[in-house]
Subunit: 141 residues, 2 copies
DNA sequence: CTGCTTGCAAATAGTTTGCACGTTC
DNA sequence: GAACGTGCAAACTATTTGCAAGCAG
């Protein structure tokens, strides 16, 4: 489903001069299907279904390429793991340090923080590029 | 300098039933001297000066122990690197994705965000346990 | 055909762990 | 002297890279 979104991403790739390969199609399809934050390994697992011979390193390299083109963003959730998502769906991540749950919240929630950091420190935070650590509702005893 | 702060930390250690060793004294002294965020390796380098035979794994284990006692916090700055700081000086970290500079800002800046996340999502963010990624003033072209 | 992409294997970076020995309380 | 801490080496996890072969444009 949502073949149109995949097609749009592919078209974007091509128009930027990047090559459209089976692996890249499969990866973008996988990300659209996942519709949210996924680790490189999650993606690899999904891609493998349709394209069994795509190597993990290709996933990383492709994600890197897509990120340079601005199609993908990645976020470090702490303890080494990073998650990736398509950049046309901006949101922030709240990570529960207890149960590991990840909650997505709209970018707007951070608008005020963004404004005050810019004003007070000249620091321009990059939306959806960092995770906020804490305790989710279920784990707040 | 600030031997008092070190002494207080040592006393805290002892009163919690943890053992006070040369390595731990040296590590706490190093963190007080550093006065801010430091990586495990930064600490190791400082500790080595006074105590050449302290192993890196001891640094990690000690930091872990101190963290469980609530004396130390650590923050992931992305790309695998974590920084540690004494928890009696709460602050947040802004990391410039361009030049790698780390800016420390007072916790209070995040008070409003904290309140709204708690209200809207029941999510209790943990102060000074995550880094905010963006561009610092110097790198904002 | 030209060079971006990929598969594979091996290398890295940061951190963790098993085990035997040493030290603190 | 019992439990906790430490040194060392080896394991681990996530990610990156060199190289030769493959495929897109």
């Amino acid at each position: 489903m949502d073949a149109a979104r995949v097609a749009r991403l592919i078209a974007e790739l091509r128009s930027r001069g990047a090559r459209v390969t089976g692996a890249r199609r499969a990866l973008l399809q996988a990300m659209v299907d996942a519709d949210g934050h996924v680790t490189a390994e999650d993606i690899a697992r999904r891609v493998e279904a349709a394209h069994p011979d795509v190597h993990l390193s290709t996933i990383y390299r492709t994600l890197d390429a897509l990120e340079n083109l601005g199609l993908v963003d990645h976020v470090h959730l702490g303890h080494g793991r990073a998650v990736y998502h398509l950049s046309d769906d901006p949101h922030q991540h709240l990570v529960c340090e207890q149960c590991g749950a990840v909650v997505e919240v709209p970018d707007a929630t951070f608008a005020q923080l963004k404004a005050s950091l810019l004003e007070d420190y000249g620091f321009a935070i990059r939306p959806n590029h960092f995770a906020v650590i804490g305790r989710c509702a279920a784990c707040t005893t």
